[in-house]
Amino acid sequence: MKLGVLSADRPLVWMLPLVAMLVAFTIIPLIYNIWLSFHEYAPFRRRLEYVGFENWRMLFSDSRMWEALGTTMFYFTVVLLVELVLGMAIALLLDAEEFGFGFLRSILTLTLVVPPAIVGMMYLLIEDAEFGVLTYVLEIFGILDKTTPILATGSLALWGVMLADIWQWTPFMVLIFLAGLRSLPSEPYEAAMLDGASAFMTFRRITLPLLSKVIAVATLIRGIDIFRMFDYVFVMTSGGPGTATYTLSLYSWQQTFSFIKWGYGATLSLFTLVIILVIANLFIALAKVRW
């Protein structure tokens, strides 16, 4: 049979659908976004007008942007660290052939199939000041009382949002780490046992270095995701109380769709993209991730 243009030595034809999708959904929106960042919507004239670097100048002098960036960085650091440490700890616990562990490992995926907005709603209820179960438990232990509702208290709201993120995504870390742990060879562990190494020494000197690539990839994937976090704050706090839980994503959403500042919103999202690219590439270089 003659394949003509579809023969294997004409790879471009085969790549075309993917390239077309990439162009339509990534490249064009990105270029449009860049173009948009040099324009702004003029509501009275009902059109986009060229403003030069005005949006970029505004970005760096916008105190709310810096506050949102600070909130995002804080959220990013805490959530990533907790998910990493907790994920590793649970993975180590579940990496055994005990009765029921197979079941436990399989239900781990459950939190991942729930849409984040729904998880946000769940935690909105869990942390509710009147009938939330978490508030109830914290009250019993005398840690909190009804006069300090978690999501409506400036110093607590972000922690309340973090809880939802950690609950939903720690199992993702567990699954990745478990897959890594289960693929490790058993011999070095047997050798370490005979060498007299303690469990902690074995973990620190053998498991961690062997898993470093897995940890790096998990950190990268989750890190990027956490930095862009939008759903939880949108559903749970809408950035409040005050501006306590405004992340960069939520702030750009607000500028774009509430204030109809399309140009400034585009500038904010581009800025977010640049920060993620810088952090991710720094990390890739430092952690020596290769694929």
Binding site: P188, M193, L194, D195, A197, P209, L210
Partner: protein, 357 residues
């Protein structure tokens, strides 16, 4: 330095019994080789000694103390694994020193011991490399170095040479034996290679289907195999086994079978009429025209040092004879060999046990 004692040791994986009521004593400083075909349980026995497998029955004692319930890290055992089991992310230096570090030895002492071991094993130049950057033989040395630096009571080797090429294997055999002579440590060495066992062991423990078949020095097993299995397992080329019966003609005792008839020592007279298997090692025959062992030459193999003649006797039984290079013979010739009656091993045909007189 230590003694090791196995008393009624058994091991089951589920309903499958892989080791059955095994008893053995190893004296201080002895080099014992556990020899047997794949699946005979030798590695399982070694891993039970190390504590990497639980003991289903019986007890294992090191230096008199039963270790059944002692954690591997507290047994003071050093082991060289078949696949070396090096720590892949550590440099050779850290691989060797890991055990000392675990024992919280001061860094200076660790460094000195690691360098001393590296010097003995000739791997000093590789100390700062990772295992992946080493050849099989070098990895093998690192694994040995790791065992060496610890003042372990017992050294265990699990088929350590099976991944090396023939030349390196021969070389490492000598090195391991030299290492043992230098350290004088009690050593248990597992292999399926009878040449390794013969060349290295003070004592060979030959195993079959989870049981010990014979324990003895390499010479014991070669010269006085207690059953046909041992006779066939030890020695290359393999021993010739001829089936027939013992005949006493009123004056001399003979073996008669496989189309041949040759003399046995007179003491076998009392077994006249018994169905037996006679084992004759290929190296124990000499070419002699008109000799009692004869057949048609099928093929001649040259090993360099000598020739191996593969014969087919009148009834079709095969027979291998080793002879000097100068021995003439081409395929199709009829050849004859003689054998010293003292070199003939006689086994009961039904049980396979050696018949001693």
């Amino acid at each position: 330095m230590a003694t090791v004692r196995f008393q009624g040791v058994g091991k089951s994986f589920g309903s499958i019994k892989v080791l059955k009521d095994l008893s053995l004593s190893i004296t201080d400083g002895e080099f014992v080789v556990l020899l047997g075909a794949s699946g005979c349980g030798k590695t399982t026995l070694l891993r039970m000694t190390a504590g990497l497998e639980t003991i289903s029955e019986g007890e294992i004692a090191i230096d008199g103390g039963v270790v059944n319930d002692v954690h591997p890290r507290d047994r003071n055992i050093a082991m060289v694994f078949q696949n070396y089991a090096l720590y892949p992310t550590m440099k050779v230096r850290d691989n060797i020193g890991f055990g000392l570090e675990a024992a919280k030895k001061p860094p200076g002492e660790v460094k000195a011991k690691v360098e001393e071991a590296a010097r003995i094993l000739n791997i000093t130049e590789f100390l700062d490399r990772k295992p992946a950057e080493l050849s099989g033989g070098q990895r093998q040395r690192v694994a040995m170095g790791r065992a060496m630096v610890r003042d372990a009571k017992v050294f265990l080797f699990d088929e350590p040479l099976s991944n090396l090429d023939a030349k390196l294997r021969a070389h490492m055999r000598v090195e391991i034996r030299q290492l043992h002579n230098r350290l004088g440590a009690t050593t248990i060495y597992v292999t399926h290679d009878q040449i390794e066992a013969m060349t290295m062991a003070d004592k060979i423990v030959l195993m079959q289907d989870g049981s010990i078949v014979q324990v003895g020095t390499p010479d014991d097993l070669y010269d006085r195999p207690n059953c046909r299995f041992v006779a066939e397992f030890i020695g290359t080329p393999a021993i010739n086994c001829l089936t027939g019966e013992i005949v006493w003609d009123g004056e001399t005792t003979h073996f008669s079978g496989a189309g041949m008839k040759f003399l046995l020592t007179p003491e076998y007279k009392i077994h006249a009429g018994k169905s037996v298997t006679c084992g004759i090692r290929p190296n124990d025959v000499t070419q002699a025209s008109g000799g009692p062992i004869h057949g048609k030459l099928l093929i001649v193999e040259k090993t360099g040092a000598d020739l191996q003649f593969h014969l087919s006797s009148d009834d079709g039984s095969e027979f291998v004879a080793v002879a000097p290079r100068s021995t003439p013979g081409t395929a199709g010739d009829n050849m004859s060999f003689s054998v010293d009656p003292l070199k003939v091993h006689v086994f009961d045909q039904a049980s396979g046990k050696r018949i001693d007189v």
